[in-house]
């Protein structure tokens, strides 16, 4: 449940870096995503074609504040996005460093507080830090989006233990792994660990065949979610025979 919205599929797909508008359109369709992320940039040529793709996709739009480094930039961008896309949803990014693209947790919490008070449904791009998560919840966030790894790095879940602790610490809060996912197996792992959704972009957009990769991620995320619901067996240190010993023949002469 994401701000009162139930999603049937748990892949949230970014719309940047595709080789062509046609491939973007086909990848959204193949991904079965119900949520796609977009940004705001200076008006230029070719904008109407992109608007048509958004419209035709039938997806819920999650605008981002990508590239914002200060509270003020992020808040202003969020207001502009709310008017332009007609949605209170905002993927709140306040970047702390231009190279690492690591979120600035202090500015993030402050911006989240301002936006939540102003009626936004904030999806904060954060780290797996539990205290930052608590502060974001206190600020009014009802979803948290911890990174898997740095944006665009494709490293997968870099801090498995920390993410497990976060899942356990916020049992009632929808948690979305946002950023750093490079392969469908990594997205499936996140779902098996109990995360509620995965947001990714580069891994699909930069695949040799983005449409096929969109399908691969969709299937992996569906499988991971099903596995979580089915209940994974606990791992053991030692072997444990699966075939019963009872009824075993004596064949030693």
């Amino acid at each position: 449940m994401f701000y009162g919205i139930d999603l049937n599929t748990r892949l949230m797909l970014g719309t940047a870096q595709y080789p062509s508008p046609e491939v973007l359109r086909a990848a959204i369709s193949a991904s079965d995503a119900e949520v796609i992320t977009v940004s705001l940039r200076r008006e230029g040529p070719g904008g109407s074609g992109f608007r048509d793709i958004l419209q035709d996709s039938g997806c819920r739009i999650l605008p981002n504040t990508a590239g914002c480094h200060t509270v003020r930039e992020a808040v202003t961008t969020a207001h502009m996005a709310r008017e332009l896309f007609g949605t209170p949803w905002i993927k709140l990014e306040v970047i702390g460093h231009a190279d690492t693209l690591q979120p600035d947790p202090f500015a993030l919490v402050e911006a989240a507080r301002i936006l939540c008070a102003d009626g936004f449904d904030v999806f904060p791009y954060t780290t797996e830090d539990l205290i930052v998560g608590e502060k974001l919840i206190e600020a009014g966030c009802r979803v948290l989006m911890p990174w898997g790894a740095p944006i665009g790095s494709g490293q997968g879940l870099r801090n498995i233990g920390g993410l497990r602790a976060m899942r356990a610490h916020f049992p009632q809060v929808p948690l979305v792994i946002d950023a750093g996912i490079g392969a469908p197996s990594q997205a499936m792992q996140a779902m098996e660990m109990g995360f509620d959704a995965v947001l990714l972009n580069t891994a699909v957009a930069k695949a040799l065949d983005p449409v096929a990769m969109a399908r691969a991620f969709s299937d992996a995320i569906t499988a991971g979610r099903l596995a979580r619901e089915a209940g994974l067996m606990p791992a053991r240190d030692m072997a444990h025979a699966s075939t019963p010993v009872f009824g075993m023949a004596e064949l030693l002469a």
């Binding site: 719309t15 940047a16 977009v38 705001l40 008006e43 992109f50 202003t76 972009n201």
Partner: protein, 65 residues
């Protein structure tokens, strides 16, 4: 007067933000606007005067992750 429009110097006679958008030929509903770093809602554009040196941003939907 000379203003800054989307990061470029721009000469305009438009007295308000709404007039500036008409002057650029951009569809008014296709952009969100900010003046000097502050969001200006669509409904407030006609009552938002431009002054020399004003920094105007006209933003549109773009691909994003």
């Amino acid at each position: 007067m000379r203003i800054d429009l989307n990061g470029a110097s721009h000469e305009t006679a438009a007295p308000t933000l709404a007039d500036l958008i008409v002057e650029t030929g951009i569809e008014a509903a296709a952009v969100a606007t900010a003046l000097n770093g502050q969001f200006v809602p669509c409904a407030a554009r006609a009552s938002t005067p431009l002054t020399p040196g004003a920094k105007v941003e006209l933003l549109a939907p773009m691909q994003g992750g």
